[in-house]
Amino acid sequence: MFEKMIDPTAGPDVAAGDAPRLAERTDRLDGLTVGLLANTKQNAAAFLDAVAESLAEEHAIADVVRRTKLSITDPVPPDILTELVDTCDVVVVGVGDCGSCSASAVVDGITLEAAGLPAAVICSDAFQVSADAMAGLRGSPGYRYVRTPHPVASLDADAVRERARTALPEIVGLLTGARPGAVAR
């Protein structure tokens, strides 16, 4: 019944993108250069800086490369992607704490993986549904990322550092062999 009724969702582009491809990982972060891809959301850069600080203390990373994505809603621009690929071994992306920026942060993580860089994406847990849907849409159902409690924007400096310390084991796990991050279904 109703097979003559046109399906308004049908079309040439409904199929999802390429199958997921995760980058090769090493067991340890020692001696690696860590890229930080921040968006311009309040506390995003501070959160990533605190992550880098802890990584330097606990994992003897070699260097940190900081890049900021000026449009929170757009995917990482090609020039920044190239720079990260050229200079970094792994990348931490964040913070996805709005509807459009959490979705684009997950896209950035998938893009970095496809370019050969292990990535850990940090999203606030209020946007889990959106981030999971993005991951599914881009052909990576089950893509893992780090969830931090909502909100992030209104935290003070100490609270941001505390959040970063709490998230650190998951971030390290995602960037190395062990992957205990949140699973998108």
Binding site: F2, A10, G11, P12, P75
Partner: protein
């Protein structure tokens, strides 16, 4: 369904037949609900023949891509837009306006970014200029933002159904609106060119006078300014500016504002010798808040302050204050509207493209 006269068996049979067809129509609508194809309101069932009726009134190729969200890998063709316009309740001849609306929307940076997924839940505002308003019955006068006008209601809804069905952006999934705004996917207005004292928006933006055209932007809201109290143009400007400058609308470096100016306010300002550009400059210059006001509201803004006074300029670029004259000339009230996005409004108008008129149909468009 009781037949009142009831004597002829054939009348009864016709009644039964019609009732069955109506019930079938209702089932078709329920089917669309069950498939998740609707925005919550009933849709019109669409068949291949209906789609062809729509495609016949546009010169554009059915496979042309008119909308896209690159980061989702999703695109919408003319044909898909036609299907959803028909579902939305459009008449076929509205399709060229729907497509021009997409041309306009795709020129907005926020639309090609993640704007449809934003927590602000913004609404596309579609502004129509030109004689096509009269031809299609696009309201530009009384109740222009409200219900009751098929073209206004269904053209805006056609955009919303594409976002949902073709781009795949649905509430509480890829769309994360915290509350969204009232009137989302219902905002299509004609400019009241007949009573505006100024050139139409499309002319201001560079199209020939009399062009059928669409401009569009995403809005975070509209807020009324009721000022029937004065004939002093500065009084009206200050009243509008007070709303423009409220702290709640400030995010990032500044705020955003435009005007859906009522006819009476527009005429009052024009009679005082002001052009649209003068009004834009006045509001841009006067819409300011001091650091103390912002601090009191918990908003420590670090950029965008005026160097001399330390005040925050709400809309520093006068060109980014769109002005549209719309509504009835029956009371002096206007709306301050809030364009969404940091990238700014494109300031473009997009021609409504229709098939060339042939000799044989005597110059009438079908």
């Amino acid at each position: 369904m009781t037949a009142v006269t009831g004597s002829a068996a054939s009348d009864d049979a016709e009644d039964v037949d019609e009732t069955a067809r109506l019930h079938y129509a209702r089932e078709a609508i329920e089917h669309a609900y069950a498939q998740g194809w609707t925005d919550g309101l009933p849709i019109v069932p669409v068949t291949e023949a209906v789609v062809e009726e729509f495609l016949a009134v546009t010169p554009r190729d059915r496979h042309e891509v008119v909308a896209a969200v690159p980061h989702l890998g999703r695109r919408c063709t003319v044909e898909q837009a036609a299907v959803n316009a028909a579902m939305a309740g459009c008449r076929p001849e509205y399709l060229p306006v729907v497509l021009a609306a997409w041309d306009a929307l795709m020129n907005q940076r926020v639309v090609t970014g993640g704007g449809w997924q934003s927590t602000s839940g913004p609404a596309p505002l579609i502004i129509v200029n030109g004689p096509i308003r009269g031809e299609l019955g696009i309201n530009s006068a009384g109740g222009v933002l409200g219900p009751g006008f098929r073209a206004n209601a269904t053209i805006a809804r056609a955009v919303g159904l594409v976002v949902r069905n073709v781009l795949g952006i649905r509430p509480q999934e890829l769309e994360q609106a915290t509350q969204g705004i009232p009137g989302r996917f219902t905002l299509c207005v004609g400019e009241n060119e007949e009573e505006s004292p100024w050139e139409p928006l499309a002319t201001e933006l560079g199209l020939p006078a009399g062009a059928d055209a669409v401009s569009a932007m995403l809005l975070r809201t509209c807020e009324y300014v009721d000022n029937r109290h004065t004939t002093d143009p500065e009084g009206v400007l200050w009243d509008l500016t007070d709303t423009v400058a409220r702290t709640g609308a400030v995010i990032g470096r500044n705020s955003s504002a435009g005007l859906l100016l009522g006819v009476e306010h527009a005429q009052l300002l024009a009679e005082a010798g002001m052009s649209k550009a003068d009004v834009q400059r006045w509001i841009s210059g006067h819409a300011r808040r001091g650091a103390a006001d912002l601090r009191r509201a918990g908003k420590e803004i670090e950029q965008g302050q005026d160097e001399g006074t330390g005040e925050l300029r709400m809309v520093p670029d006068p060109d980014q204050i769109p002005i549209v004259v719309t509504g009835a000339r029956n009371a002096a009230m206007s709306m301050v509207m809030r364009p969404f996005g940091f990238g700014g409004w494109s300031r473009t108008a997009h021609p409504v493209r229709r098939p060339a008129v042939s000799e044989s149909d005597g110059g009438n468009r079908s």
